[in-house]
């Protein structure tokens, strides 16, 4: 490079060199740009794929197959003395009545083996549902009703098209004979899909058609309620102290470091803490919303504290100075002036923390929330499970019917999370202030 060549020669050369390589450089530019666009597209595709997969797997679970069967309730078998005593009525063998009606539809079935298959058309829980119905309306006794009876999960799957009819008979869960019967019932208009209320009103069950998320939902509700009661005041209190009052010393430094690190500690470690400390040491009953809420509170506290501090930070110091200037005490300044302004931000953070708690599964496995609990919990110390754990348990079940129910439970869970996140976004937008 000869710098003394002067500008006459060199710049010409520069621009020529630049122009010569320009095409290659722009090709690179386009490639890079396309790479980025591909990454974004992939990210978006994953979102779509995930939702599509779950919705397609799960939407059928919101309907359940019923079979219309004429069921007669002979008075002499149910309530021979006409007392209408619920205990007497409840004792009757309702399954027998249903089977009687079913046999009436298929008079040709006489073989014992076939009869057993015929019984398999309807759910084992159908008798209980019919019983509740008669108990609610004793006037049914003595009559014959065309009742819609809950179908077995295999039949449900068959009707919903989840069972491949062309597979060899041994490879599917329903025989050719049963398929024939179901087709005949369908032709008679005796098969119908109705809204699956059981899914929303029942606890879990070993039978897919009887399994519902009501127990898990209530468990989640109690857990979340208690988590909120504990983490909101503690989180806000800690945030106010750390942001507004705390002196800068080693103790508060230690607290800061701890909060930041706890936010990134794997959730399962909190499960170990809950198991060893809350259950092992303090004797908090296992499998209860109480112990779940304690663990989740510790887990969500960093989230709540960090976002609450951000909200406090966004309130300009002039507000504090104005309040202190008219003689308010530091605490009054906080409570009367700063806190109301920071509250939307704090609530937003708390809602996001609650959403995190609602979806959390791993630590709850450690503290016994995976017990099989059919009953719907009625309080903080009843044994319970929560929605995500229920999803985990169902996902492990081999029955095809549970696949769609798991997906449906996921849809419900995602719907709750969506609503919570939406609320947080709206809250933020509604109260967002620019100072």
């Amino acid at each position: 490079m000869n710098s003394e060549a002067g500008e006459g020669a060199r710049p010409r050369r520069t621009i020529d060199v630049v122009n010569a390589s320009l095409k290659r450089r722009y090709a690179k530019e386009r490639r890079f740009r396309r790479l980025g666009a591909t990454a974004v597209a992939l990210g978006l595709a994953f979102v779509v794929l995930l939702f599509a997969d779950i919705i397609l797997k799960g939407y059928t679970a919101f309907q359940q197959t019923y079979i219309q069967i004429p069921v007669s309730f002979p008075a002499e078998a149910i309530d021979p003395e006409g007392t209408r005593d619920p205990e007497v009525i409840g004792d009757a063998n309702y399954m027998a009545f249903i089977r009687e009606g079913l046999r009436g539809l298929f008079p040709e079935v006489t073989q014992r083996r076939d009869k057993r298959q015929l019984k398999g058309l309807i759910s084992v829980g159908a008798a209980q549902l019919v019983r509740e119905r008669v108990l609610a309306d004793p006037s049914l006794i003595g009559s014959t009703q065309a009742l819609w009876i809950l179908a077995d999960d295999d039949i449900d799957m068959l009707v919903k098209g989840h069972i491949d009819r062309h597979a060899p008979e041994g490879a599917r869960r329903v025989s050719d004979q049963v398929i024939g019967w179901v087709d005949r019932l369908e032709a008679q208009g005796r098969v119908a899909k109705r809204f699956n209320t059981i899914f929303f009103t029942h606890g879990t069950s070993r039978e897919p058609e009887l399994a519902g998320i009501a127990g898990a939902l209530m468990g989640s509700f109690y857990t979340l309620l208690l988590t909120l009661i504990l983490s909101f005041p503690i989180g806000v209190g800690a945030a106010i102290y750390l942001e507004e009052f705390a002196p800068k010393n080693r103790w508060t430094d230690l607290i800061e470091v701890n909060i930041n690190n706890l936010a990134a500690v794997p959730s399962i470690v909190f499960g170990l803490l809950g198991l060893a400390v809350f259950i092992g040491f303090f004797g908090v009953p296992r499998s209860t919303p109480l112990v779940a809420a304690l663990v989740l509170t510790l887990m969500t506290l960093p989230t709540v504290i960090i976002s609450s501090r951000a909200a406090l930070k966004s309130v300009p110091p002039s507000i504090r100075e104005a309040a202190l200037g008219v003689g308010a005490s530091p605490l009054q300044t906080q409570l009367h002036h700063v806190l109301p302004l920071a509250m939307p931000g704090m609530l937003t953070g708390t809602i996001l923390g609650m959403a995190q708690a609602l979806g959390e599964t791993a630590p709850l496995l450690m503290i016994g929330m995976i017990a099989f609990i059919v009953d719907i919990p009625g309080g903080f110390t009843d044994s319970a499970t929560v929605l995500p754990v229920q999803i985990f348990l169902w996902a492990d079940s081999p029955e095809r019917g549970f696949v769609e129910r798991t997906s449906a439970a996921i849809i419900v869970l995602l719907a709750f999370l969506f609503v919570m996140n939406l609320a947080a976004v709206l809250l933020r937008r509604r109260f967002e202030r620019r100072w």
Binding site: G43, L50, A238, Y241, P266, G283
Partner: protein, 463 residues
Amino acid sequence: MQAWTLVVFLLATMAVAYHLGRKRAIVRAGGASRIKDLHSLPAYYGLYAALWAGLPALLLMGLWVGLQDQILITLVTASLPPEMLEGLSDGRVGLLINDIKNLATGNIVSMDVTPAIQVAAEQYTRLRGIFQWAMWLAVAAVAIGGLSFAWASTEPRMRARNRVEGAVKVMMIVFSSIAILTTLGIVLSVVFESLRFFDQVSPLEFFFGTRWSPQIALRADQVGASGAFGAIPLFTGTLMVSVIAMLVAVPIGLLSAIYLSEYAARRVRALAKPVIEVLAGIPTVVYGFFAALTVAPFIRSLGASLGLDVASESALAAGLVMGIMIIPFVSSLSDDVINAVPQSLRDGSYALGATQSETIRRVILPAALPGIVGGVLLAVSRAIGETMIVVMAAGLAANLTANPLDSVTTVTVQIVTLLTGDQEFDSAKTLAAFALGLTLFLVTLSLNVIALTVVRKYREQYE
């Protein structure tokens, strides 16, 4: 539940105390017209009384509820015939106590009910009843006592506001310290159980052994003796799943952050960014379901069509889905970091005639590198600690393999497997979970500390 009624009672007492304290202050000042003589507003005297009525009583109650079980167990154990406890390990005693408690609460019992146990259960029930009543009385007495004290000490010159504020401040300090207590609780709970584990299994075997099969330890005669607790297969399994996840998440997350912050039109960015971030809000159990029921079978059939033998629970499926989960984590961290690179550096590069991609690759990315590395470290820490995806999709077989199509197991999977189901608190199998937990905690902690330091340093550089 008596505890809840007691809480309600205390809240009611506090409400009453508030009113009494307020009235008392006004009366002591000489009527509503002379409120000005009070040091603080009347409400503060009410709060003062309410705090005295509620706080000590609540503290006592918390202590009582927390310690009652320990004391009860000690008492009941002490009353058991000594020959019953002879020769039993701590764990066996624990099981016995559990049975007594279960019998008392009407739950299923694991062993034969002997008369001695029956008696112990009855005694447990009786003692618990007494304890409950004693708690009621003690707590109520403390509440009333506190209220009386506040009543007696209320006088116009008392600085009620300052005292209330002092109490509130102390409460806030306690709340802030919960973070430290949590860390302490985590450390203590995993360290103690881990120490007991390392009593039975040498740390050398645990950290460097290559065979993991804790189930052997289930046999009573072999507790801790010959169960294989070499955690290397778990570490390599965790590593493999995490590496696969990073291979998915880092390029996609980083490139999409670059594209959205440097190239995309504002409207595209406003739409695509939140949609990708939706991935961050999806519970991990949903990813686990997706991995186990959709991705794993897909990879398996894809492998089969290529003539490859893919395990039904392959590391690849779990890693892929974990990578998807971590994409938004990487992309939003990278986005922050890239936006923190000052515009002046971009200008400098453009002014030399660099194209956009040259500027990004040769100026922005090197400048943002420390921040990106910090973000990736945080993501790695998250991948290592992720549980549900691997529990549902990675399997249990502790294979020491480098083939991503094989089934592997991870640290978190083993923690869950070892601790769910029947638990004896001192079998090496259960304790191993805590040793794994300790390892996990230390590794993620150091990753986090390093990452947070790197990111902070990076931010300070451009502030």
